[in-house]
Amino acid sequence: MVEPPAILLIEDEPLLLQNLQILLQHEGYRVRATCDGAAGIKQLKAQAFDLVITDLVMPGIDGFRVLDYLKFHCPQTVVLTVTGYLSSESASEARRRGAYDNLTKPFDYHLLKATIERALQKARRQKSSRPDKRTEAWGERAEQIQRAD
């Protein structure tokens, strides 16, 4: 029995977060919802996710820092970023830091679904390939540094 994919949502607009969770759960995904970067990272430490959908502009720990965290600790996890306006700079920057794709609010639901499907396909492909020991070692070292912070 294959488990449905695990998706983590990080979005500081609570109503939007709620709606997304409802919609995605309706599609059959396992959804965890957090309303800020810190809580999101906490969830990431607790369990592994197939996909993370995060807002970029948030107070406190913003989407970029989440991207950096994921790059070091969960390179297998695919990330989608969400922005409030069509800023090509943020989108390019996000992609440079590891995001798979970017969606602008208000996103078309079907586009969202299609993008999520593509991202999950990528995640499945990554899982089937052998895990990279070096990346894991890096992840550990980065964690050590972060703890020392």
Binding site: L16, G84, S88, A91
Partner: protein, 524 residues
């Protein structure tokens, strides 16, 4: 099929090429360095002096020669007259003695004359036969005949005769011979002779010459000095003026022009000074204007930046509520799948929300420039949009066909921007086919770039609209509900231009339209 190039294409029309060439030439000429002003080389001065001095020399030369000649003649004439008159006096004095053969008295007379007048070299009394009756200072010659030519000629004279003689010691002189006649007859009784020295005369002539020479020299020197002075007086103020004007051309417009002259040159200087003052005024006002303009420009730029920031914030703030509303309605739709009528109404709401979102996007995107470092793969973007498009078209009975050439290079724009362009053109195609139709999306590689075409089988675009298609706020939609801001194509045009590309439209009313976007590949 009728083709109409867009504004980019018109750059290559012959008129515009000529205009641009002319502008380029003007610009090149204007930017050549100013020909350096050569300093005054005093040619005028030298010329002036040379002319005056030459004139003077010639003048003085002529005058001197004329005067000298005149003087000489006068002196010699005077001397001659004097000599003759002295001879006559001696003759008159000695007349009686000669007639009476009073030799002693003749001797006396002759000696007295010779001694009394310094100019007289000798005085001789000749008898009828030519023998010497008396000779001043030469008593030994008494009774003798003189055989020299001068004496011969003198003795043959029948009227007073003047001869030029040259003596050993005395130099040049006159020999005056006065024939003596018996009173009231033409019988010659004897001759009285005088030797008159021209020493004094020639001395006087020499002195005259000297005086004239010195005078000429003095005059020439004076004249030359005067000429130099005059020339300097003219050229110095000119030189002053020139140097002052050069000062000004160097940039110091507040340096007043002063010329130390009160004549025409001074007047010229005054005129220049007036010009300088007016220049200074104009420059000052110009620089003030420039400053004002610069300040206004800075303010404008600041305003622009503020506007952009405002637009970004507004977009961000509005998009969040929109997203919430949209997803809420999505949830309602999902939860009430059975009730068709409700579904329809909910879809209307969703569409209206899309409309708002579109307007926000268009306003915001219109104010924003492109970013230089973006790269996108066209095919990838099209593939990612395919499911969305297909679903949309299915409802509207539009068939979608995608022909994508593999291996296309990437282009210089962000995927979000490209998505915007594609979605905009697709939406226009949809709007042109309210009763359904066919849309063909094609990508081909073309001359180091990508050509993306979106063709529809819709109503086509009338000729009159084709020039204005890409103008901001231009829309052909009549129904208010269908009208957006009219910014879609304007924004797309801006994005395409920013990526270095072009857009063309082919259209035939009743048959359909094709939009062709050519985008250059981004350099590796």
């Amino acid at each position: 099929m009728v083709t109409r190039r867009d504004r980019l294409g018109s750059m290559f029309s012959p008129i515009n090429i000529l205009r641009n060439l002319r502008k380029a030439r003007e610009y090149a000429l204007a930017s050549l360095p100013l020909r350096a002003v050569r300093p005054a080389q005093g040619n005028l001065r030298t010329k002036f002096i040379v002319v005056i001095v030459s004139l003077e020399i010639v003048l003085m030369g002529v005058v001197s020669v004329v005067v000298e000649r005149h003087q000489r003649r006068a002196i010699l004439e005077q001397t001659r007259l004097r000599a003759l008159s002295l001879g006559s006096s001696l003759a008159a004095l000695s007349e009686g003695y000669l007639l009476s053969y009073n030799f002693a008295k003749l001797e006396q007379a002759v000696e007295r004359v010779a001694v009394h007048e310094g100019d007289i070299i000798y005085a001789i009394a000749h008898l009828r036969d030519g023998k010497v009756a008396a000779f001043s200072g030469r008593n030994d010659l008494q009774g003798r005949l003189l055989h020299d030519l001068t004496s011969q000629r003198a003795l043959q004279a029948t009227a007073p005769l003047l001869q030029d003689i040259v003596l050993e010691i005395a130099g040049r002189g006159y020999d005056v011979a006065i024939p003596m006649f018996v009173p009231h007859s033409s019988k010659k009784w004897g001759t009285m002779r005088l030797g008159f020295s021209l020493k004094r005369a020639y001395l006087a002539i020499h002195q005259t010459r000297q005086a004239l020479f010195l005078l000429s020299l003095g005059a020439i020197i004076c004249g030359t000095s005067l000429a130099i002075l005059l020339a300097t007086r003219i050229s110095k103020p000119i030189g002053q003026l020139v140097s002052e004007v050069l000062e000004i051309t160097k940039g110091s417009y507040d340096h007043p022009i002063q010329v130390s002259a009160r004549d025409e040159i001074g007047y010229l200087g005054q005129a220049f000074e007036q010009m300088r003052q007016s220049l200074e005024l104009h420059l000052n006002s110009l620089s003030e204007e420039k400053q004002r303009l610069e300040e206004a420009n800075i303010r404008l730029q600041q305003t622009q930046q503020q506007l952009m920031l405002l637009a970004a914030r507004v977009a961000h703030e509005v998009n969040n509520p929109l997203a919430i509303i949209k997803t809420t309605f999505q949830i309602i739709r999902v939860q009430s799948l059975e009730k068709d009528q409700l579904q329809e109404q909910l879809m209307v709401v969703e569409q209206e929300i899309d409309r708002i979102a579109r307007i926000i996007r268009e306003i915001f995107a219109f104010a924003r420039p492109n970013h230089q470092d973006d790269r996108t793969e066209v095919n990838a973007v099209l593939e990612s949009l395919k499911p969305l498009l297909e679903q949309n078209f299915f409802k509207k009975r539009i068939a979608l066909e995608m022909i994508l050439e593999p291996g296309l290079p990437c282009i210089r724009t962000s995927s979000d921007h490209l998505k915007q362009v594609i979605l905009n053109m697709v939406r226009n195609a949809e709007d042109a086919m309210p009763a359904g139709g066919r849309i063909v999306v094609q990508t081909v590689s073309k001359a180091k770039g990508v050509e993306l075409s979106i063709a529809d089988t819709g109503s086509g675009i009338p000729e009159i609209y084709r020039n204005r298609l890409f103008d901001p706020f231009f829309t052909t939609k009549e129904k208010a509900t269908e009208r957006g801001m009219g910014l879609g194509l304007a924004v797309s045009y801006g994005i395409i231009r920013g990526a270095g590309g072009t857009i063309e439209v082919e259209s035939e009313v009743g048959k359909g339209s094709t939009f062709r976007v050519s985008l250059p590949a981004c350099e590796a």
